[in-house]
Amino acid sequence: MSIRSLPRRLVVSAAGAAVALLVGGVLTPAAGHDPDPLLGGGLYDQNQVLTYRWGGGPPTAMRTAMNEGVADANASRKSRAPTFAYNAKGDSTVYYGTDVPCGVNGLACMRRWVPDSFGVWFRENGHRFDWGTLRWCELSGSPDGCYEVENVMLDELGHVLVLGHHENFANESDYEDAVVQALSRTKPKSGWNAHAFGRCDVATLQQQYDIPNSTSPYSTCLEVPTTLALSASKTTVAAGSMVTFTATLRTDGSGRLSNNLVTSRNVVLQHRLSGTWYDVATMAAGSSAGTYAVSVNVWASRDYRALFRKPPAEGLLASSSAAVSITVSGTCTGSACPQSTPADR
C-alpha cells in the first residue's frame, strides 16, 4: 500500500487526553475551514493570462494531463485570479523529467516569479525515492498508489496563484475543501483526483484577486460581512400613497472583498409592529448593480428596513439596514381602508 493512500490521520479518541499525552507545549485551537494561507511574494494582475511552454519534453499523455489541470484551474478559480494558457513561446515553463529542483523528496515543485512568469516541475515517472517508486497515474495504467498528474498540476497552479498549503482539521474531515494540500493523496483515497479548486482554495483567490462580478457567489469558506443601506422615495405621505424603497447591498470584508456591490440576492423589506420586524415584500433587482427596490402602498406610519439573510450556500453574512421612518398623514379609517395589505398587516 502506498504511503499516500493511507488515512493519514484518525480522530484521536478522547481528544483532550490524547493531546495531553502527546503534546508538551502551549496549545492553541486547531485551525481549519479557513481559507488557504498565502505563499507571499505578491500577486499577479487580476485576470492576467500567464503563458507557459513545455520543458524537458513531457510525453503526450503527460502534456494532456497537465493541460487538463490547467483547464481545471481556469474553470474553477471563481475569482479574478490569473488564467493559464499554453504558448510555444510562453514566459513560463512546465517541465517534466529527471532534472528538477524539487529537492530530494519532491514529486513536483513550483516557483513564482511575479509579475511575469512561473515554473512548475514534475519528477519523472518511475523515479525511485527512499519511500518507494513514483507512479503518475496517467503514465502507469493508474494503479492504486499512483498520483494523478491532473490533480497535482492543479495543486501546483494553486501555488502559482499564491495559495499556501491548506490547514486541515486534525481528522482531515475538511481535506476536500482544498486541492492545495501539504500531502496529496494517491488513488483511491478520496480527493486523489479532484479536478476543481476546493472552496477554501477559492476563498483565498477571492480574497486576493476579488470575485468575477457582483452576481458571483462568495466561497462558503469565507464569512464576509455585508452592509445594507435603505432609502425611500418619500418619508411623509398621505395614507394609501405608494412609496418606493431602494436598498443597496455591499460587502464589508477586507481587501478585495470590501465595498463590493452584491447583486441577485434575496433582500426583503420589513416593517416594525409592536417592536417586532415582519417581512413586507421581497425586493426586486434595482436599476443598478447591488440595488434592490420595491414599491408599496402605506396606510400607517411605520419604520421600515431592508434585510439580507445569510444565504445557506454562500459565504456572505446577514445584514440589515438602519430603519427608515415613513410618516403617514390622514390615517385611514372606516370602510375605505383595505382589510389587509402587505404594508399594513
Binding site: L27, P37, L39, G55, D99, G103, N105, H165, N171
Partner: protein, 174 residues
C-alpha cells in the same frame, strides 16, 4: 527591539546551545543544495534555483542521540516542493512517553507546529495515526505510549510563505 526582548532571545539562544551540547554530537546538516535545474531556453526563461530552504530539523531525546529529519513538503520564499509522507531516517529509539524535542538549525524564528505519529508495519506506514493540535513555540512532545515502530511527522509554519514538514522513524521500546 526592546532590551528585554534582546535579553530573552540571548537567553533562549544560550539555553538552546547548552541543550544541544548536552545532547551529544549532532549530525552535520544536510547541504543546502538542490538538483541542477532544467536548462533555461528562450527569452525570459526562469532560473529555478531556490533562493533559500527550510532549516534542518533535529530531533533530540532519542536514546541514540540527535537525528536530522527528512525534509518533505515545504514552502519557502516563493518556492514550493510537494512530497509525500516520508518514513524518515532509521536509527532512533525511545521509551514510551519519553520527552522529545525538535530544534532548528539555523533558527528560523517563531514557529507554529503540530506532530503526527503513524505506526509502521514492516517498515511501511500502518493505519494508526495520532495528531496533536497546533502549538506555538518550542517543539516539545512525547513519544507514543504504545511500543513499536513509528514514523513521526513535524509540520511547522514560520510565518507567511514559510512552512515545512520533516519526518523521523522512531522505535518505541520498553
Amino acid at each position: 527591539m526592546s532590551a528585554h526582548a534582546v535579553s530573552v532571545r540571548v537567553t533562549v539562544l544560550a539555553v538552546l546551545l547548552v541543550t544541544l551540547a548536552a545532547c551529544g554530537p549532532v549530525p552535520p546538516p544536510t547541504p543546502a543544495t538542490e538538483p541542477t535545474p532544467p536548462p533555461a531556453s528562450g527569452p525570459g526563461a526562469p532560473t529555478p534555483i531556490p533562493d533559500a530552504q527550510p532549516p534542518d530539523a533535529i530531533l533530540s531525546g532519542l536514546i541514540e542521540g540527535n537525528v536530522v529529519g527528512d525534509l518533505g513538503t515545504y514552502s519557502w520564499d516563493g518556492f514550493v516542493s510537494d512530497a509525500p509522507w516520508l518514513t524518515g531516517p532509521a536509527g532512533g529509539s525511545t521509551t514510551p512517553v519519553r520527552h522529545l524535542a525538535v530544534s532548528f538549525r539555523p533558527t528560523p524564528g517563531d514557529v507554529t507546529w503540530h506532530v503526527e505519529w503513524v505506526r509502521l508495519a514492516g517498515g511501511r506506514p500502518g493505519n494508526t495515526v495520532t495528531s496533536t493540535v497546533p502549538a506555538f513555540g518550542p517543539v516539545r512532545f512525547d513519544a507514543p505510549a504504545a511500543t513499536g515502530d513509528w514514523s513521526v511527522g513535524l509540520f511547522a509554519r514560520f510565518g507567511a510563505g514559510r512552512d515545512a514538514a520533516w519526518f523521523w522513524r522512531v522505535e518505541v521500546a520498553p
